[in-house]
């Protein structure tokens, strides 16, 4: 019974396989033809291996040798020569693609010398203005920062005095005790202190909030105004919201100020 059906199955199987291959090759051949890197290296040759593998399970089979060339011989190392099909192209390396792509139209180089000169001039101007300010003004302002919060992690913290940033916190910043971060002579009168803070929860840093708070202070003549900024955080979004879908953000920036006569 089975012997009678074998020729039919064989023909059917062969026809199915050839049909599938024809459809598949027609579908993917344009992609294959379009690829630009070619097949310059030896890459896996499944046909040869397939023949070997099937022959192993069919010891009496008399399969024709594969049309695909056999792997090259050893080149002196301790193993085979099957190069990885995944070797990257030089264009994938930093700095090379742009250079290759911009043949004849290289982007203008960044003016490094001009940049250095500009930064140098600004730094020198700032230093001498600060120096003159110290000489001219007696009144001073000192800004201290104190942070609080069990699960609060400060991502970004900047303090501005009037129009300029006077302190930027380092990457990991915490100050359980008041720490002076800025002290300078200023003109007596009104000044604004702005605190820009981003915080995130150390239990789940997808929960984060930002706050920008602005305080106006009055620096009395011939006095030192000590400003203490307290950044407190009682948020529990990262702790409780994922479990019970309830939580709160509670970030507060408070300020204390106290003036005292300048010691001459």
């Amino acid at each position: 019974m089975s012997k009678q059906t074998h020729p039919e199955r064989r023909v059917l199987a062969a026809a199915l396989v050839m049909g599938a291959v024809a459809v598949f090759v027609a579908d993917w051949l344009p992609d294959a033809a379009a690829q630009t890197h070619g097949r310059s290296r030896a890459k896996p040759k499944p046909s040869a291996s397939a023949a070997a593998s099937v022959s192993a399970t069919l010891p009496t089979a008399t399969a024709q040798p594969s049309a695909v060339p056999a792997p090259r011989g050893d080149t002196g190392g301790d193993g085979g020569v099957r190069a990885s099909p995944l070797n990257p192209t030089p264009q994938e390396m930093p700095g090379t693609y742009a250079a290759a792509a911009a043949v004849g139209s290289a982007p203008p180089a960044f003016p490094t010398a001009e940049y250095d000169r500009l930064v140098a001039e600004i730094a020198a101007l700032r230093a001498r203005v600060a120096d003159v300010g110290d000489a001219v003004f007696v009144a001073r302002i000192a800004v201290a920062i104190e942070t609080d919060g069990d699960h609060s992690r400060i991502g970004h913290l900047a303090v501005e005095l009037d129009d300029g940033v006077v302190f930027t916190a380092p990457a990991v910043f915490g100050s359980p005790d008041p720490t002076v971060v800025y002290e300078r002579a200023v003109a007596p009168g009104h000044h604004t202190i702005t605190v820009d803070v981003d915080r995130k929860d150390d239990r789940d840093d997808t929960f984060r909030d930002s706050q920008r708070t602005r305080f106006v202070v009055d620096v009395p003549k011939d006095q030192r105004l000590a400003v203490t900024l307290r950044i407190g955080d009682a948020s529990d979004m990262g702790g409780s919201f994922p479990s019970d879908h309830k939580g709160k953000y509670d970030l507060r920036v408070r300020m204390n100020a106290a003036a005292s006569p300048v010691k001459r």
Binding site: V17, S47, A50, P90, E92, A98, R128, A130, V136, F137
Partner: protein, 681 residues
């Protein structure tokens, strides 16, 4: 061999560029290395042939105006006048050191510059305190990113005739800082020029620093032989010994002197070396270089088809290294090339574990393709095809997402900042496109950032900080001018500001614009309004150019007098001019960042396109493999050999459930027991 050479070269490039990020390693135990001659300037650097700048004169340019201020303040009996004692210098230095330790760099610069530009500072310049002040100023300026004045002040210190008299503490520190500045500014050739005057009798660690920076400069100038000679002079007691040895090895490998390069890498990669036996004090940077050296050894062995050696070297990269994914992936590739498919699969499993712990790793796409190729090599064509289909389903959207992200500058920056800082890219804000959070995370994991991109970001951070300080300085100048005017009881013309006339014009233009808006809103004929609009735009352009020209004119003329108001007026104008230049520089930096970001995403595009093409080609191979298997099977059947699958299909027992029992036919039947049509004929 060509492709492998490409890969090695590209690996070298990545490793080399990664090393640019390394700051100095650490100090070392002294060893009796031969003294190295001081390196001459880099031959290919055009600056080498130029006359070296006069250090004192150059540094003075940064302090000229400040000295004029000091004189003006002294005339008004403000400030410290001409009083500066050694105790003052020492006390001010203590303040400055405390400020620098607390990270209050701007305050430190202002405080110490007040001393170094004081009229009487020259009397103390060659004392220990004077040198300390100069060094402190150079250090603080470098920390703030103002490299040009930092180098000028440090050169001024080194140019002192007695700078190198024993113990030469601050001269040695100045050399160290200049070398670090050269590395941070990616200008080693400039550092070599700065250090030309260092005597050959300088201490060994100083000579090591100079040899290292000379090697870097020669390498950058395309002189590998000069670089090799310079790196060879970096002794084991130098804090740059590890970096120099590694780079030395890379140059040798690049010259295909594999044995020599390997020998150098082995010095670093020795697993027996630890913080007790190492000649350098191991810190995180030393260990990072050690891991790089092990990867380099693996690549050299791989290049020479010594796959077992390569496996061993890759294995040496420890599990806590951030190069682990790279090492495991390279090891899997080497096992594949050795046809050790079981070994390759085991390593790919380790990579999956790394991905499971970290979410993504930078080789995840290539590892998936390699996995499918291992299946192909083992003739598991169906498994390979399934994996390749899954790869295509996953990474076609990623490629599409990368292209959408590249359409918007803001989106590009958001994803690249996440890739650079390691923050969650899924939370990046993407403008005008729908890209899933997981796709964004995958893009961030796959993107290879150019070190130049990080340098551009650092420059922007410095520029923004200085621009912010400049705004504050302008406000402070206004305050000082008002204070002086109030004191003198006379209203200064500067109080109204140089911008007063232009502000009047600006307000007038705003009024005209408002009137035109009202006209348009009341349905006035557009052919009559349009010429007015054109005239308004022309006037607006003329006013803008006039505003830009005004401060430049005033600043170019410099201080017209040497009194305090004159100096302040000149600085106010200069600040306005600097503000305009900041805007121009900000635009140039933004363009540079965008170019580099687009380049990084283009490289992701190239890489994913290659892998997707490779996956499609591999699918063809999988189908061809299945076809070939069937052909062999059919040929075998034709020859009378029934394949195992066919034999199995005739085995009735396989169709039974567990609860059923099979009683095979044993050849005994009784036809007389059948009735009717059931009787077989």
């Amino acid at each position: 061999m060509a492709l492998r050479a490409d890969r090695r070269a590209s690996g070298v490039l990545v490793l080399g560029s990664a090393l640019l990020l390394f700051a100095p390693a650490v100090l070392a135990q002294p060893r009796g290395a031969a003294p190295a001659p001081m390196a001459p300037p880099v031959a290919d650097d055009p600056r080498a042939t130029a006359a070296a700048p006069a250090p004192s004169a150059e540094a003075a340019t940064y302090g000229d105006t400040l000295r004029a201020y000091h004189a003006a303040l002294a005339r008004r009996r403000l400030g410290s006048g001409d009083q500066l004692t050694a105790e003052d210098v020492r006390a001010r230095l203590a303040d400055v050191e405390a400020l620098a330790r607390a990270g209050r760099t701007d305050e430190a610069i202002a405080r110490v510059m007040d001393v170094t530009e004081h009229p009487r500072f020259e009397a103390y310049a060659e004392t220990d305190d004077g040198r300390a002040a100069l060094w402190q100023l150079g250090d603080a300026l470098a920390s703030a990113g103002a490299y040009a004045p930092a180098r000028a002040y440090l050169r001024r210190l080194l140019a002192q005739p007695t700078a190198w008299q024993s113990p030469a503490t601050f001269a040695r520190r100045a050399v160290r800082r200049l070398v670090e500045i050269g590395m941070a500014a990616d200008d080693p050739a400039g550092a070599v020029l700065d250090l030309q005057g260092v005597p050959a009798s300088a201490p060994e660690e100083t000579r090591g620093d100079i040899a290292y920076v000379t090697g870097r400069a020669r390498e950058a100038a395309g002189d590998p032989d000069g670089a090799v000679a310079a790196y060879a002079n970096v002794g084991r007691s130098s804090r740059f010994w590890a970096q120099a040895t590694y780079l030395h090895g890379l140059v040798l490998v690049d010259q295909r002197r594999f044995k020599d390069g390997e020998k150098l890498f082995c010095e670093l990669a020795d697993p027996g070396r630890n913080d007790r036996t190492s000649p350098v004090f191991g810190d995180e940077r030393y260990f990072a270089i050690r891991d790089l050296a092990r990867l380099a050894l693996g690549r050299v062995a791989h290049e020479q088809s010594r796959f077992d050696d390569a496996r061993y070297y890759y294995y040496l990269v420890p599990r806590d290294s951030n190069r682990l994914a790279e090492a495991v992936y390279e090891a899997a590739t080497s096992r594949y090339e050795k046809k050790d498919y079981a070994g390759a699969r085991e390593l790919l499993g380790q990579l999956d574990a790394i991905a499971g712990a970290a979410g993504h790793h930078r080789y995840e796409d290539e590892a998936k393709i390699l996995d499918a190729y291992v299946d192909l090599a083992e003739c598991k064509f169906e498994d390979a095809d399934r994996k390749l289909l899954a790869f295509l389903a996953r990474y076609v959207p990623v490629l599409d997402g990368a292209r959408r992200v590249a359409d918007s500058d803001a989106s590009m920056q958001a994803v690249l900042v996440a890739a650079r800082t390691g923050s969650d890219a899924g939370a990046a804000e993407i403008v005008g496109a729908v890209v899933t959070a997981d796709t964004l995370r995958t893009i961030a994991a796959l993107v290879r950032l150019d070190p130049a991109y990080s340098a551009a970001l650092r420059r922007r951070a410095v520029l923004e900080r200085e621009a912010s300080g400049l705004r504050a300085a302008r406000g402070e100048i206004d305050d000082i001018q008002r204070g002086l005017a109030a004191t003198e009881g006379a209203r200064q013309t500067t109080e109204r500001g140089l911008d007063e006339p232009t502000n009047v014009a600006r307000r007038a233009l705003e009024g005209v614009k408002h009137a035109l808006d009202e006209l348009e809103a009341s349905s006035a004929p557009s052919d009559r309004v349009r010429p007015l609009r054109d005239q308004l735009a022309a006037l607006d352009a003329r006013l803008s150019s006039a505003r830009q020209a005004l401060p430049a004119t005033v600043a170019a003329s410099g201080p017209t007098g040497d009194d305090l108001p004159d100096l302040l007026r000149a600085d106010a104008a200069r600040a306005s001019q600097l503000g305009s230049r900041v805007d121009v520089m900000r635009a140039a930096l933004a363009a540079e960042e965008t170019r580099l970001a687009r380049d990084a995403l283009q490289r992701v595009d190239v890489r994913l396109s290659r892998l997707l093409r490779r996956a499609r080609l591999a699918r063809i191979e999988a189908v061809l493999g299945r076809k070939r298997t069937l052909e062999v099977e059919i040929e075998a059947i034709n020859d009378g050999v029934i394949p195992r699958s066919a034999i199995d299909s005739l085995d009735s027992a396989r169709f039974l459930l567990d609860s059923e029992e099979y009683w095979p036919f044993e050849g005994d039947d009784w036809p007389d027991e059948f009735v009717g049509s059931e009787v077989p004929r």
